[in-house]
């Protein structure tokens, strides 16, 4: 994007310099003076031709050329200023935003997009930060709920183990195999979810430690 913008600006500068340069060159060209002189004198009488002074016309054309150079310089400066303004205030923040968003997408939720302005670009940055913050909340919710569920499963496992250790003649103590498999399946699902949460490399201001969430 930055390169494309730079090319557009350079093209604009090239066109501006070419057109202005051509006009300035033409205004300083002796051929032009001769053509004007011929064009004017052809409409004058012989006496008037004798008294005709070309220096007035040359003065006007020189002034016009100088004005043209001045206007071209001002426009050129304006274009260069606009180019830097665009790069500094639009391209650079967009670039920073893209880099930060990439890190967020890669699982670094501690990345914050720097919001320096309150314009549309600033608002996009704020919204991306909000999005990351909401994603973090959802992940932490999953983490907390799965940690609680895992603790409950541990208790169920404990009950199953104690039931299994009872004498076999006690028929009521038998734990259906299906139930044991279901508990194992739920445990695997929970562990999958926790693995997914842990696949995020970093969170904003906190970290996951031994099933707990602590401040960094």
């Amino acid at each position: 994007m930055k390169k494309k913008l730079l090319i557009v600006f350079l093209l604009f500068i090239f066109v501006l310099l070419s057109v202005s340069g051509y006009i300035i060159f033409e205004l300083g060209n002796d051929h032009l003076y001769q053509e004007i002189s011929i064009s004017i004198t052809s409409q004058l009488s012989e006496h008037e031709q004798h008294n005709f002074d070309m220096s007035g016309v040359i003065l006007i054309l020189t002034r016009l050329r100088n004005h043209m150079i001045f206007v071209m310089a001002v426009v050129l400066l304006f274009v260069i200023f606009t180019m830097f303004f665009f790069i500094r205030n639009i391209m650079k923040p967009l670039d920073d935003m893209a880099k930060a968003a990439k890190k967020m997408a890669d699982g670094r939720l501690d990345e914050i997009i720097p919001v320096r302005t309150h314009d549309e670009i600033g608002k996009i940055g704020e919204r991306i930060n909000d999005l990351a913050m909401n994603l973090q909340e959802i992940l932490l919710h999953i983490w907390s709920h799965t940690t609680c569920s895992k603790a409950i499963l541990d208790q169920i496992d404990e009950i199953i183990r104690s039931q299994k250790s009872r004498p076999t003649e006690d028929c009521s103590s038998g734990i259906p195999l299906q139930l044991q498999e279901d508990v194992q399946s739920v445990r695997e699902n929970i562990e999958d979810m926790q693995d997914m949460v842990q696949s995020f490399d970093a969170f904003y201001d906190i970290r996951l430690k031994d099933g707990k969430i602590v401040e960094t």
Binding site: M133, L140, H141, C148, I213, E215
Partner: protein, 116 residues
């Protein structure tokens, strides 16, 4: 009787969740703040009965905001809502005279706390 509550959390999804729970219990949400600084400002202008306060927030964290609020109003009722390990931070909440310290994944407990 329903209370006038200010919700402070930097996550909009969390604010929405807390709001839903509190409104289902007949409470009124008078305002929402997304960081500690906004919370202090809104507390002064809205004077709510209770504040639900997140801890980790950009610009100003929940504990600092609670300190400012308690300086302004020593009777301010603050409930901390956080994902952070309760054992580690509830002492800090108590020191600040908080009404409670609840885990964010148990937002429904706010209603029980407010009833008590």
């Amino acid at each position: 009787m329903g209370k006038r509550i200010l919700i402070v959390d930097d996550s909009s999804i969390m604010r929405k969740m807390v709001r839903k729970n509190l409104e289902s219990g007949g409470h009124t949400i008078v305002g929402e703040a997304k960081n500690g600084r906004e919370a202090v400002k809104l507390y002064r202008s809205l004077n709510p009965d209770v504040v639900t306060m997140d801890i980790t927030m950009r610009e100003m964290d929940g504990f600092t905001a609670a300190e400012y609020i308690r300086t302004y109003d020593n009777n301010a009722q603050i409930i901390f809502l956080s994902n952070l390990d309760k054992e580690r931070y509830s002492d800090n909440a108590k020191r600040l005279g908080a009404l409670g310290y609840l885990s964010k994944h148990k937002t429904k407990e706010i209603l029980t706390l407010l009833r008590s």
